[in-house]
Amino acid sequence: MGSPSVLGDNEISELPFLPEAAGILTRRGYALTIEELAEEANRNILISGISRVKADVIGDGGFQVPQGVQSPELRILSFVVASVIVKLTKNNLIVKKFALAEAKRIENFIRTIASSQRDSAVALLTLLYDRVLKMRLYRADRIIGSQLFEFKLRFQDYLTLATTINAPSWRLVNRVLDSGFVYIKMENATRLVRDAIARLIEDHIRSLKMVKAPQLLVEEAKKLVEETSEIVGSRGAARSWSVATNPEEYPPCIRSLLAKLESGENLSHFARFLLASFLINIGLSLDDIIRLFSRSPDFDERITRYQLGHIAGERGGKRYLTPSCTKIMSMGLCVKDESCDDLKIKNPIAYIHRRRKHRREEKTKHDTKAKGRRKGKGVPEDEI
């Protein structure tokens, strides 16, 4: 199964985390230690690795090994360097971003070769299912109605992969199922394996062991963390980077629930769910949330911890999203004020970062105005 007979070093080097990739390095005389990688003589490898990790974590993932040096070993080694840098950041978010971007690159690569080198694409996918998922991807090449389905998966395997994707088209009810097999197209097979590749790369990075990292790479990692936090900060996307622990930053509905809790009032099931899912999704720790709930009259730490864990998607479950404003309104818990309208939020979770962004913008406006006013009054430059 998964015989890479039609796969050359070029194709294998697109899956640098597989043992076969290490084999290529050994065969071509590139079995280098991390220390050796950081040596001046291997500058081109280092540069490729750095640009790879930047493209993945900061950029749009559009990394290309520089023209002229597109050798399989360079492609594999740039992944090794990139992984080491990511490991050295000790930042989970960076690990995740890197792994996902790498997984998407593989997805794109297979898509690209699917039309011109169909056999290679099929072989790569088969290999990926075998090694990454430990599943068998069956060749179907079957026409059903007007459509051609290249592959089929046992329905149990399909469900394992597809339940993590939200789009309705992936639900079993919208698939062709026959004799225990779900029929899928090449592009479906490619998409389905992506998340597992990302997880495998995350595990790969976590399991990297480094006794002493080369200083050069440590510095690259430091730079990466700085650049990432700038990017993330300016987009305001990484809410988990600065957890809002001050309830004054929370939307009115959440503040009102906290006040009720404070006064020892018993909250309804939905109110508890709303509060818990909000606090979990802004990144508060379960222990902190349990402390808040401990004021509830019927508090039972064991049950609370279990329920919070469930909402947070621990033990492999799915993390619950915070209910939308519409839902909160329909449950009679919306106590919105003009701030909600101003920020145009549809979900309380958006409140915090929109408010922060709004304040920043206001401040900038205010500062510029102030600047202008003072200038107008002829205040000397050096006083500003």
Binding site: S146, Q156, L172, L177
Partner: protein, 376 residues
């Protein structure tokens, strides 16, 4: 919401004695779940309380407890646990679960329900014409009845389910066991070791598939054949749906049908209508909720005193005869009200405020329903 009619203390003692006798005589024939030590067991007692989180190390211990305690209802978890007796759900250590389906005859909406189901408001019998009737008076109790017609509708539901389970899911018929629940439903158990590991996110997708909920008409539209030979290549639901559309539109299963469907302005509503006919009515919760406990096959159903009985051949199976376990020794009863009852191959009633002698199995049925008192 209405509640079940309460059974008086003396009547419960009557039932308890009969149940004990039944379990005593049939102990070795009682069905035992695979891997019993990994199952949670639950009892409904004759004192109207549920005892959950019981566990037994072997069949003999389980059976001895059944004899000693004589439960009114016996249930087992479809899940396998490391520590099934732990009262805290998340500490039981879930290992897997059987795949089970419950076809509730009520959900099939057979027309006979309106004829034989009724409301008992204090002593007054009112016809039951739908859920709307229950508003207002909280003193009314709804009584569910069974007749050969609704049992047949249930059998049709089972056949539809079996068709999809075997053809689409590829489950071997030998791994499927069908049971009449002893009241108004059929239970389908899948004994396939591989499906045990399906997790709680996968199970809802199976119920969605069976009930066609969330089906996107576009997913079918996209498959519509463009060439003559392609019609025969359809499989699964798309095939059944196009076949049904062919019946509805009275056109053969050939390319012109596909062309008509592709252009049909109201493809979505046409498909919606067809889907309503085809969907399989199962209770999604029973399949999805892996923390549930399920009635033990071959045990007695507390709502009727009938046994949850295997229907090896669903077509020839006669649940209202085969599930009867008690003898026909006469029992004298005061019956408040009972519609006509088909049981054990004979027809009884209807009865209205009367004292009659009835065979034990009929007496057990009426007493279990709370419609009769012992007249001694």
């Amino acid at each position: 919401m209405t509640q079940r009619l309460k059974v008086g203390e003396r009547e419960r003692e009557f039932l308890r004695t009969r149940y004990r006798g039944f379990y005593y005589r049939n102990l070795d024939k009682l069905w035992m779940p695979r891997s019993l030590p990994e199952r949670e067991i639950g009892f409904l007692t004759f004192g109207y309380t549920y005892r959950r989180h019981l566990s037994f190390t072997d069949d003999a211990e389980f059976k001895a407890t059944i004899l000693r305690e004589t439960p009114w209802g016996i249930f087992y978890s479809i899940s396998y646990y490391d520590d099934p007796g732990n009262a805290v759900m998340e500490r039981k250590g879930w290992k897997g679960a059987d795949l089970v389906f419950d076809i509730d005859i009520k959900d099939l909406e057979p027309p006979c329900l309106k004829e034989h189901d009724f409301l008992l408001c204090d002593d007054q019998v009112l016809p039951y014409t739908g859920a709307g009737d229950l508003s207002g008076d909280g003193g009314c109790k709804k009584v569910d009845w069974i007749c050969p017609l609704c049992i047949d509708d249930g059998k049709d539901g089972v056949l539809k389910l079996l068709d999809v389970l075997t053809r689409d899911f590829g489950i071997s018929p030998g791994d499927i066991q069908v049971y009449y629940s002893g009241h108004r439903g059929f239970h389908v158990h899948i004994e396939d070791g591989e499906l045990v590991s399906l997790d709680r996110r996968s199970r809802p997708q199976i119920t969605e598939y069976l009930t066609l909920s969330g089906v996107d008409p576009k997913s079918i539209w996209r498959l519509l054949p463009l060439a003559e030979g392609e019609m025969n290549s359809l499989m699964g639901w798309p095939k059944r749906i196009v076949e049904r559309a062919s019946q509805v539109l009275n056109r053969p299963m050939t390319l012109p049908l596909a062309n008509v469907l592709r252009k049909a302005k109201r493809f979505n509503s046409l498909i919606d209508g067809v889907i309503d006919d085809l969907r399989i009515s199962i209770d999604p919760q029973v399949t999805q909720d892996i923390s549930r406990i399920f009635r033990l096959p071959t045990s007695l159903n507390e709502k009727t005193g009938l046994r949850k009985t295997r229907c090896d051949d669903i077509m020839s199976c006669d649940p209202l005869v085969e599930s009867v376990v008690f003898d026909d020794d006469p029992v004298k009863l005061h019956v408040t009200y009972a519609p006509k009852l088909d049981l054990g191959g004979y027809t009884y009633g209807p009865y209205r405020k009367t004292t009659v002698r009835l065979p034990t199995f009929v007496a057990v049925f009426l007493v279990s329903k709370g419609l009769a008192k012992l007249a001694i």
